[in-house]
């Protein structure tokens, strides 16, 4: 049994290797027979080991390293929430990155080195997150070269200063505009659109919808306490100011606790026709459901974490969400376009994880992988894979997300490098499939309505620091 399993794993790896190796010319290796895939993989492994140094055009020995990088491996760390409130999402994001490295490693890795993930669980608790950071950033053999995912604004804020001291690169899994703070430095390599800009784009989109119908937009903003809520709220308030929209109800940080009667009452009575939420999925469902039940009609949207297709399209509210909800986001949903990146991602999951539920957030993990690879390859090309060298390399690269999201670079001022594009999705309850698998044709029920797009107010706005 053990042998069989090993063989299966080996073959799977081989398939992906060939799939990715030839993906530019051929659309995957699904048609190839298993035996040929195996031999090809073996052959490729051999060539990799011999050819890698030659490809890098300089012997591995000449690359300066300190912690987490050896002659044959690069360790990247993940400080992820795998048992806390965001566990289901984060687990899928980490899965996305895991599959990405499986593909990359099968293709010979980075600079002839295999990428090894060190995954630690924070449970979304700050204390545990800090403890994990200290483990990952240890200045010894146990440390990692960089942190390829750090879940959550709170934990990222908590370790930002240490990361600067340790000069270690951290990719936060958090879209708060906080990482624009010059004090935080280049170590926190923010990814994608921030909540603030997302709110501005989203409200512009909703306002256009309402105006097209001949109404005057009246905005209600709902946010929860905390940095996420504050950032989303700040963007929404800014948008209202710039677009000159009346804010009829502003619940800044007021959505808290288990009973939201107060918020629903005020929302319904406010007469708003645009609602922007910066909430958790549970809070969104409660407020949305109760407001709709009381006959409240408006165009709703909110920052990406407000929505969860399982909770929202799988419950009784599915039709209402279909009718009133526009989902905002930073990445293309599963099979949402036919870009190169999406094809790679879908192919890899179809091959390597055929039984996994499909998910829109695999793309996020995949994009983290792309970021890390680009940065590390630049560092290798610079001949400096020390932690500081990796941080320096991150300022020189432009990451091509191959159509999964807007490309990004971190050079220059924040205003120059900030990502201004976001997406708007249409929620489709009928397309939603309760238990889709990645090898099937199911859907999470989200389709791109518009995007990537930059609203006028965002295009003109000068971002010189965090919105909050």
């Amino acid at each position: 049994m053990k042998f069989k399993r090993l063989l299966a794993l080996f073959m799977a790896l081989g398939l992906v290797a060939s799939a990715c190796g030839s993906s530019e010319t051929d659309d995957g290796a699904a048609g190839e027979s298993e035996s040929s895939a195996t031999t090809e993989a073996t052959a490729e492994e051999e060539t990799t080991t011999t050819a890698a140094p030659a490809e890098a055009e300089e012997p591995a020995a000449e690359i300066a390293t300190d912690f987490g990088v050896t002659d044959d491996t690069i360790k990247v760390g993940l400080n992820a929430d795998l048992s806390g409130p965001f566990a289901s999402l984060v687990a899928e994001i980490v899965e996305g990155q895991t599959v990405y490295w499986e593909v990359v490693n099968a293709n010979g890795g980075i600079a002839g080195r295999q990428v090894e993930m060190v995954v630690l669980d924070s449970g979304y608790a700050t204390d545990k997150g800090i403890e994990n950071y200290l483990t990952l950033a240890a200045e010894s053999d146990e440390g990692v070269a960089m942190i390829s995912e750090n879940t959550g604004s709170p934990i990222t804020a908590a370790i930002a200063e240490d990361a600067k001291d340790d000069d270690i690169l951290v990719i936060p899994l958090s879209w708060a505009s906080l990482w624009a703070d010059p004090d935080i430095g280049p170590n926190i390599l923010e990814k994608g659109t921030n909540y603030c800009i997302e709110s501005m784009n989203g409200i512009s989109f909703l306002a256009d919808l309402v105006t097209e119908n001949g109404d005057t937009p009246k905005l209600a903003i709902l946010s929860r306490p905390g940095e996420y809520g504050a950032d989303g709220f700040a963007g929404a308030a800014l948008a209202a100011e710039l677009l000159d929209i009346e804010v009829v109800y502003a619940a800044e940080g007021e959505v808290a606790g288990d009973d939201r009667t107060a918020v629903v009452t005020q929302l319904v009575n406010s007469g708003a026709n645009i609602v922007w939420t910066t909430l958790t999925p549970g809070e969104t469902a409660d407020i949305f459901g109760n407001a709709v039940a009381q006959g409240f009609e408006a165009q709703w949207s909110g920052n990406q974490p407000s929505f969860n297709y399982l909770a929202h399209l799988g419950g009784d509210l599915a039709e209402s969400f279909d009718q009133y909800w526009w989902q905002s986001g930073y990445t293309v949903p599963w099979n949402g376009n036919d870009s190169e990146g999406m094809q790679d991602l879908v192919a890899a999951f179809t091959e390597l994880r055929p039984d996994n539920n499909l998910s829109d957030v695999y793309a996020i993990g995949w994009m983290e992988g792309l970021m890390v690879q680009t940065v590390l390859e630049q560092a290798a090309a610079n001949g400096d894979m020390t932690r500081a060298g990796i941080v320096a390399a991150s300022q020189e690269v432009t990451v091509d997300f191959k159509g999964l999201g807007p490309n990004q670079s971190w050079a220059g001022s924040y205003n120059d490098s900030v990502v201004r594009e976001s997406y708007m999705f249409d929620a489709d309850a009928t397309a939603f499939d309760i238990q889709p698998v990645s090898s099937g044709t199911g859907s999470t029920g989200l389709f791109i309505e518009k995007g990537p797009f930059v609203s006028e107010i965002v295009a003109d706005y000068v971002f010189d620091g965090p919105c909050i």
Binding site: A251, D259, Q266, E283, A293, G314, D316
Partner: protein
């Protein structure tokens, strides 16, 4: 801000708002009461304060969701023959049959937990027993979380979000359903306590050893108390899953796990050992919570966001300062 508040008072009539709030309070109160009775029965039968109720309740709701979604039964080679067809909402009778099935499974879970973790502890201090259930709660949590993380856990409520119009107020069918469920539970528990088992349970609650000596099978009473308790909290969780309650027709990873903790003030107020107390306590606490949420909304900036969540605890503290054994609990005479 001020403009908004004025608007809030004008746009809806006073009476419909009041009626709506009252119904919501009663519905939430019914759920608190049913879960409260679940706590009380376990306490009466086994002298255990069941902190694991939350985990058991959510597991019960999960069983329900598995049964009505016909996604096949986990770890079993067959699927549920009574389940509705995939993608359709079940008829009410079929849904109710599945509900009963789910409650039976929840009761079995309760009995199994009692047999492995509570039975060996008979005669130990109350605190140790309560902490055992804290351990169970901790251990059940990840399973619940894991089960809800991958697929939508719809409860397939036949009446969905439909509501009746009554005197200008919208009255959701789910609210009425919760009230009916509470009344049925309360009546059947009262009947139960008049039956032979009920008498046996009261005897055990009074004195375990004496009851044993009288030929009462104490172990069976323990089992039944836990089975009933588990089924009752599961009823609460399932009906709380219906919209327009927050989970909106699903088993919620965010909301369900903390539901049972919100019932604690209820049983403290009613007294740990009083079934009518749980009923009155549930209605009182829920009304306080809902009315505070509705009518103090304009003071949110003073009371703090989410103030209605702690209203039950404040009510509880005030009551306990006056009556340390709750409103209905029996005061223990200090023996020397």
């Amino acid at each position: 801000m001020i403009d908004v508040l004025l608007l809030a008072q004008e746009s809806t009539g006073f009476f419909p708002t009041f009626l709506q709030t009252l119904i919501k309070g009663l519905a939430l109160g019914s759920i608190y009461a049913v879960m409260g009775i679940g706590f009380v029965i376990v306490f009466k039968g086994t002298q255990v304060l069941n902190f694991a109720a939350g985990g058991i309740a959510m597991a019960g709701a999960l069983f329900m969701s598995i049964l009505v979604n016909d996604a096949g039964l986990p770890f079993l080679p067959f699927s549920n023959p009574l389940a509705p067809e995939i993608g359709t909402t079940p008829s009410i009778p079929r849904w109710l049959i599945n509900l009963v099935l789910a409650l039976i499974i929840a009761a079995i879970l309760g009995m199994v937990l009692e047999r492995i973790a509570i039975r060996p502890m008979i005669g130990q201090p109350l605190f140790s027993m309560a902490v055992i259930t804290l351990g169970i709660e901790t251990a059940l949590g990840p399973f619940n979380r894991d089960a809800t993380s991958l697929t939508a856990r719809s409860l397939q409520i036949p009446w969905g979000l439909e509501q009746w119009e009554f005197l200008g107020a919208g009255i959701p069918k789910s609210y009425v359903g919760a009230m009916v469920a509470a009344v049925l539970c309360f009546l059947s528990i009262n009947l139960f306590f008049r039956s032979r088992f009920g008498v046996a349970m009261r005897a055990v609650a009074f004195d375990q050893e004496a009851a044993q000596a009288q030929g009462i099978n104490v172990g069976r009473v323990f089992s039944i108390a836990w089975g009933l308790g588990a089924a009752l909290v599961a009823v609460g969780a399932i009906f709380y899953g219906m919209g327009p309650f927050p989970p909106q027709g699903t088993v919620s990873q965010e909301i369900h796990p903390v539901l049972a903790f919100r019932v604690l003030p209820v049983i403290i107020l009613g007294g740990l050992d009083s079934i009518p107390g749980a009923l009155y306590g549930g209605l009182l606490i829920a009304s306080a919570e809902v009315f505070a949420g509705q009518y103090l909304a304009q003071w949110t900036s003073v009371l703090g966001a989410g103030y209605s969540t702690i209203v039950p605890y404040i009510v509880m503290l005030i009551v306990l300062l006056v009556r340390p054994y709750g409103l209905f609990g029996s005061e223990e005479i200090r023996r020397v």
